[in-house]
Symmetry: C2
Subunit: 112 residues, 2 copies
Amino acid sequence: MNTSNTGIAGDADPAVRAELARLRESIDNIDAAVVHMLAERFKCTQQVGHLKAAHQLPPADPSREAHQIARLRRLAENAKLDPAFAEKLLNFIIAEVIRHHERIADGADPRE
Amino acid sequence: MNTSNTGIAGDADPAVRAELARLRESIDNIDAAVVHMLAERFKCTQQVGHLKAAHQLPPADPSREAHQIARLRRLAENAKLDPAFAEKLLNFIIAEVIRHHERIADGADPRE
């Protein structure tokens, strides 16, 4: 996908536009990978939601979440990603998952 | 990592605990992949930030962002991920990137 001729880069010199386009292609590839990983993640959490609903387990699990956050902060630090950002991102995703679980528990599966 | 004996699943029957542990291991693997993809993404956006700062391009680029959002919504739909969630997530990540770019433009590189 050609993203080099759109937006603010249109007025920059050709070498800068080419470099910006190269970086944006990598960003777009990474975003596609992340979207597909998250689609797979929600398939897993949907299954968790059904399991929890079937066995009357609560949608949220604070000890699991604390464990996930601590682990992700360690992984982020090793990958030189801001651990605070990784934690905010996980909380953002978990909030969405809990909304799904609550809907499953209420009998309305958001994926169906 | 054994996550089957912690939290709410401790009281559930062993088959349920095992299934929950299996799903959580997949979720943890996916989260590690996402953290590493995002670490790589921020390496790209840091380079974009330096390029923009060096050539006096503004940190935000609304036409690029509109293009990214439309593309990610299409990818999300194909992957059966909620497009509204994909859009919210991208906005969340872009907000962080713009904060980084502003800091780079101000002369303080958040990665250094």
